[in-house]
């Protein structure tokens, strides 16, 4: 299999890349690691006229602290997250979750930001970023820089609010403070498969009570979903069995899975419930460790 013909440009600077998109954005696709885009090109699900390969643009491959946030540049690969000792300390959820993404070979090429922008409803990073309340930093030649909260970024399968002339240059994640913990639970048929269901959870505690909560769902809707009702049900409460069960019920109610080769809708909904329960218990245990 090979893709339909396209023009290929690999600009040396961000400005050059933004210029190309300003001119030809409607017919172009931006490529970072290409681990989602190239399979789509080969299947000819995507047939852009122009590929703008941002892989050679300097300054986009760093993980940096930035005003209470961690900023992951557009060329930071999954494997970079896997090996980052800073991230393991600051936001352990990222490093736990990355092991569930694709396989080691794909993780050597694919990028975090690229994966989020690809907006596959079965993608893992989307729901992790929803749980962490991340925001995308995007740039365009005309509009300069703008910041898009992840909540609302996903419009539908493979569709986001990113405009055709824009490049996502980084994702910013607020660094959890105090006693905080997260977890990612994924059910997959084999290594490298898309999730049958996955759930990402992040909590911050104030004493014994929940101050902040994030729950993201994978593979159970037209986009990665943020289980907002379930999050709300946690705020201000102690994470006892009853509160956890109620949040799990609300998250399952928010899921909109379909029957497919990986399982029935009813099964997937119930797996959301189970994973939210397990996830909150694991997150609570980790948050308490941090406090201790």
């Amino acid at each position: 299999m090979f893709p339909a013909a396209f023009d290929y440009r690999s600009p040396a600077t961000l400005n050059e890349a933004l210029g190309l998109l300003a001119e030809r954005g409607d017919d172009a696709k931006v490529m970072a690691g290409g681990q989602s885009l190239i399979p789509l090109l080969k299947l000819r699900f995507a047939q852009p006229q122009l590929i703008v390969d941002i892989g050679r643009i300097p300054g986009l491959a760093d993980v940096k602290r930035d005003d209470g946030h961690v900023r992951i540049g557009a060329l930071v690969r999954h494997v970079d997250v896997e090996r980052s000792q800073d991230l393991a300390k600051l936001i352990p959820l990222l490093v736990e979750a990355v092991h569930w993404i694709a396989d080691p070979l794909v993780r050597n090429r694919g990028t975090v930001v690229g994966s989020v922008c690809h907006a596959d409803p079965s993608g893992d990073w989307g729901s992790i970023m929803l749980a962490l309340n991340a925001e995308l930093v995007v740039q365009s030649a005309k509009g300069g820089e703008r910041v898009i909260p992840i909540d609302g970024f996903f419009e539908g399968p493979f569709t986001t609010t990113l405009r055709a002339d824009e490049i996502a240059t980084a994702i910013r994640i607020p660094v959890p403070s105090g006693s905080a913990g997260g977890s990612y639970h994924k059910l997959e048929r084999k290594v490298g498969d898309f999730a049958t269901v996955a759930v990402s959870v992040q909590v911050e505690l104030d004493g014994r009570k929940v101050r902040k909560a994030g729950i993201g769902l994978t593979s159970v809707g037209a986009t990665n979903l943020k289980a907002k009702q379930a999050e709300k049900a946690l705020i201000g409460h102690e994470l006892n069995d009853e509160v956890i069960a109620e949040a799990a019920r609300l998250a399952a109610a928010a899921a909109e899975p379909k029957d497919d080769i990986r399982g029935t809708a009813a099964y997937k909904k119930d797996m959301v419930r189970v994973f939210v329960q397990r996830g909150l218990k694991a997150a609570l245990a980790r948050a308490q460790e941090v406090r201790a």
Binding site: F2, V106, R109
Partner: protein, 169 residues
């Protein structure tokens, strides 16, 4: 577009359309057919090559993306007639049956041993988790990687022993 890549230590170039995949560039332009096309859908790892020392799937890379970079294929493992430790391991431990996945497996394993010269069984299994062996011969593949690790460890010790022996005389 012109693409120039260092492949197994030698500079190679070709003129390709941007849509040409690295695996096709290696096989068709450079006639390096040791890199196999298995699933062609980023699932199986048969097309694994090392890009600047890291294993990647060459069916999911454009040749133009690796312009100016360094590629190692299975043809680059041996030095002349001397097999690399990983190749000896696959031979000694019967690490292959049909052999189709073997180039990818050996490259992933050699990259693993670069980073981690003494991996546990779990670490080996983890490292090859993106490579599928359709014959399901994973047990012997793990043994082959262990064999190579031991062989490299012995080789690393050998000069010291010689030095000790020499010093004792």
């Amino acid at each position: 577009m012109k693409v120039t890549v260092r492949v197994n230590g030698a500079e190679r170039s070709g003129d390709v359309e941007p849509r040409v995949l690295l695996v096709d560039f290696l096989r068709s332009n450079l006639l390096l057919t040791g890199t196999h096309i298995g699933c062609d859908t980023t699932s199986c790892g048969a097309c694994t090559v090392l890009l600047d020392g890291e294993p990647v799937k060459s069916c999911t890379l454009l040749a133009v993306q690796v312009d100016g970079r360094e590629i190692k294929t299975v043809e680059g493992l041996a030095t002349g007639a001397t097999l690399a430790p990983i190749q000896v391991g696959f031979h000694e431990e019967h690490g292959l049956q049909c052999g189709f996945c073997t180039p990818g497996m050996m490259l992933v394993a050699s990259a693993l041993l670069e980073r981690n010269p003494n991996p546990t069984d779990d670490e080996i299994r983890w490292a090859i988790s993106g490579n599928i062996c359709r014959c399901t011969g994973y047990m012997n593949i793990v043994k082959a990687v262990k064999f190579a690790a031991n062989m490299q460890a012995q080789a690393a010790k050998a000069p010291n022993q010689a030095a000790v022996a020499g010093g004792g005389e």
